[in-house]
């Protein structure tokens, strides 16, 4: 239909007016809110980790042992809360505050493994445990080896 004329727009509005209107209806930036939430949730998780480490120190572990045991305990808590479906709720609120601590690392292990259980215990659970943990271990361990080699030749 080449001769069809375009219908006139129902509302006439200048580009400036449109801009102002669009800005009014754009959701308020969640930037600051995200940062505050990440700070509080991340801070609280780390403070809890410190409480657990202090308890391990209190029962006679060396600082190194206590720190290791504290990390293991936090990983246990992170996995358990993911299994119970609680950690996802913490994650929705805390953003990076729940992702960066080891509890978030544990969450990234349990979450896909649980999801893919129907694909079996080897190709499902066994493989999907490493969806995120795999890359983290690959880059972390590779970095540590390169650093060790550099330390060897620089000293």
């Amino acid at each position: 239909m080449p001769n069809q004329t375009l219908r006139k727009p129902a509302i006439s509005i200048s580009p400036e007016e449109y801009k102002a209107l669009a800005q009014k209806y754009t959701p308020k930036p969640t930037f600051t809110k995200n940062i505050l939430r990440a700070f509080f949730v991340g801070g609280l998780i780390c403070a809890l980790g410190q409480v657990i480490i202090n308890i391990f120190s209190g029962i006679g572990l060396t600082p190194k042992e206590a720190s290791n045991a504290g990390t293991a305990a936090m990983i246990f808590l992170g996995s358990l809360l993911t299994g119970l479906g609680v950690y996802d709720e913490i994650g929705k609120f805390g953003g990076a505050g729940s992702i960066i601590p080891v509890t978030g690392f544990a969450n990234s292990i349990v979450s896909p493994a649980m999801e893919f259980k129907r694909e079996g215990y080897v190709q499902g659970v066994g493989a999907k445990l490493f969806t995120v943990a795999g890359p983290v271990l690959v880059y972390g361990i590779a970095a540590s080896i390169i650093i060790g080699v550099l330390a060897y030749f620089l000293h």
């Binding site: 991340g42 801070g43 410190q50 509890t103 972390g140 080896i145 650093i147 060790g148 060897y152």
Partner: protein, 120 residues
Amino acid sequence: MFHLIFPAFIVGGLICVIGQLMMDLTKPSFTPAHVLVSFVTGGAVLGALGVYEPLVKFAGAGATIPLSGFGYSLAKGSIEAVEKRGLIGALSGGVEATAVGIAAAVFFGYLMSVTFNPKG
């Protein structure tokens, strides 16, 4: 009992804010997995440069619980093992120093994945 809890809260919180900025200021294709990989690698580099150690002394869990602390431990273990045993230490030191965390993550992760089912 209250040793280091406040510094752990502040430093741990600030480290997580860096992660939040990385997520909010990058494209959506930069996933949480990319953030975690960056933190481990970054922590290893800062650990090797000796920058992360003072943070661990000052803030305890505030520096060791975030994943950058895992990178720091990997780097520290590797360097210390190289000093003791030579070049072979570069292969053994990192994993040795972080063995508890890696084994705990694999074992507890497996246990919980098998025990629980996803909600909904």
